[in-house]
């Protein structure tokens, strides 16, 4: 675990990995989106609007996956005091919030022609909106604790309260996932389950491309942001040292 505690070790791997994830993911998601727009048939009921799924589903997946990452980082921070954990949590927060917002917006655009409404307070939509607010809370808390000068050291800039908030917020993840099963909801039930898929193969296949593409891209963005935070900490530490030495001399 602590093999990566040293940022130079982490950077040695992260630096060459970043462009592969970022550009590879971007190519995959663009290919998937183009295929989804041109090669697949329209749905028998939804018509052309079914194609929004190629963006909506990866966005939902990464919105929830992002919070899972933040919660795992918080656990690692609390238990093992790993210095990169807090940095990882901070790096994930903004892209995670962005994808959650994309999920809500694309769902709303799809809902208007399909259901006949932009927004309804059903279990799935409400719990996903709560996730977006959780992201906002986490970003605000993490930013406040990083500004408090906790950026250097074991916490990686994330206070303990922020990490606890991340862990408690993870309760929302199973609720989002099960919301269409536990409660009568306007949102349809899960299409892809352990038993297979109720989406016909001719419509489904580009979703695999965009899911993988967006996930790799997300990973690339997170690594970029982690490197940026590490570089920022280094600059701050150096400035502080220069100020001390300048004051002494």
């Amino acid at each position: 675990m602590h093999a990566f505690a040293n940022p130079t070790r982490f950077l040695k791997i992260a630096r060459p990995l970043t462009p592969w994830l970022f550009w590879g993911g971007l190519v995959l998601l663009i290919v998937g989106a183009v295929c989804g727009l041109t090669l697949t048939p329209a749905d028998y009921l939804q018509g052309e609007s079914v194609r929004i799924m190629y963006i909506h589903v990866p966005a939902a997946w990464l919105g929830m996956g992002g919070w899972s990452g933040i919660a795992i980082a918080a656990l690692v921070q609390m238990v093992w005091r790993h210095p990169l954990a807090g940095i990882a949590g901070r790096a994930i927060a903004a892209p995670g919030a962005l994808f959650t917002a994309i999920c809500l917006v694309t769902g709303s655009i799809w809902g208007r022609p399909t259901w006949g409404t932009w927004w309804e307070w059903d279990g799935r939509m409400t719990s996903m909106l709560v996730l977006l607010f959780l992201y906002f809370g986490y970003i605000a808390l993490a930013r406040a604790s990083a500004a408090d000068g906790q950026g250097v050291g074991d916490s990686g800039g994330v206070s303990r309260v922020t990490a606890i908030f991340a862990l408690v917020g993870a309760v929302n993840l199973p609720i989002i996932n099960r919301s269409v099963v536990w409660w009568n909801s306007l949102h349809q039930g899960p299409s892809i389950t352990m038993r297979g898929s109720t989406i016909d193969g001719s419509i489904l296949w580009p979703l695999g491309l965009t899911l993988l593409g967006f996930s790799l891209w997300f990973g690339g963005i997170v690594l970029m942001r982690m490197r940026a935070i590490l570089a920022e900490n280094k600059v701050e530490a150096r400035l502080a040292r220069m100020a001390r030495e300048g004051g002494a001399g």
């Binding site: 993870a170 009568n184 016909d200």
Partner: protein, 150 residues
């Protein structure tokens, strides 16, 4: 010593997470009925919804039940969940995806005669996605396979 405190923190964190998830699940199951987005026809029958109370009614539009009334803008149809069926009426423009054999969520209230008077209709999409060529084929829910009818 360092190992021991790390171990303690791990146990503490796991206990806390289990407690929080347990609380969340309890709250969610307590919410079960309250957080439901709509009533199914059988729930209406079992629980008894008094006339005039604003609710949402959700289910499938019974095939063959949809008819247009003389005024041209009012439609009448039956809503079923497989266990119970209730009649419903709606005046206005229904969403494009509203059709027989498909899901519907209607906002409104029951009148004294037990007919649901809808003030707004939403089409509920199900989890099946398929191209138009496959429409009308038999769908096997257990194997997710499509078979041509007859």
């Amino acid at each position: 010593m360092a190992m021991k405190s790390k171990h303690q923190r791990l146990v503490l964190a796991i206990v806390a997470i289990v407690a929080v998830i347990g609380a969340g699940l309890l709250a969610a199951s307590a919410l079960k009925d309250e957080a439901a987005y709509f009533y199914a026809p059988n729930e209406v029958k079992v629980k008894g919804v008094e006339p005039g109370k604003a609710i949402r009614l959700g289910g499938m539009v019974v095939t063959g039940s949809l008819r247009k009334e003389a005024d041209g803008v009012t439609i009448a149809f039956d809503v079923t969940d497989g266990k119970a069926t209730v009649p419903a009426r709606f005046t206005g423009i229904a969403p494009d995806l509203f059709r027989e054999g498909s899901g519907v969520v209607a906002e409104g209230a029951f009148d004294k005669g037990g007919t649901f008077i809808a003030t707004n209709l939403l089409a509920k999409h199900d989890e099946r996605y398929m191209p138009r060529e496959l429409e009308g084929m038999d769908y096997n829910a257990a194997t997710h396979e499509m078979k041509a009818e007859k």
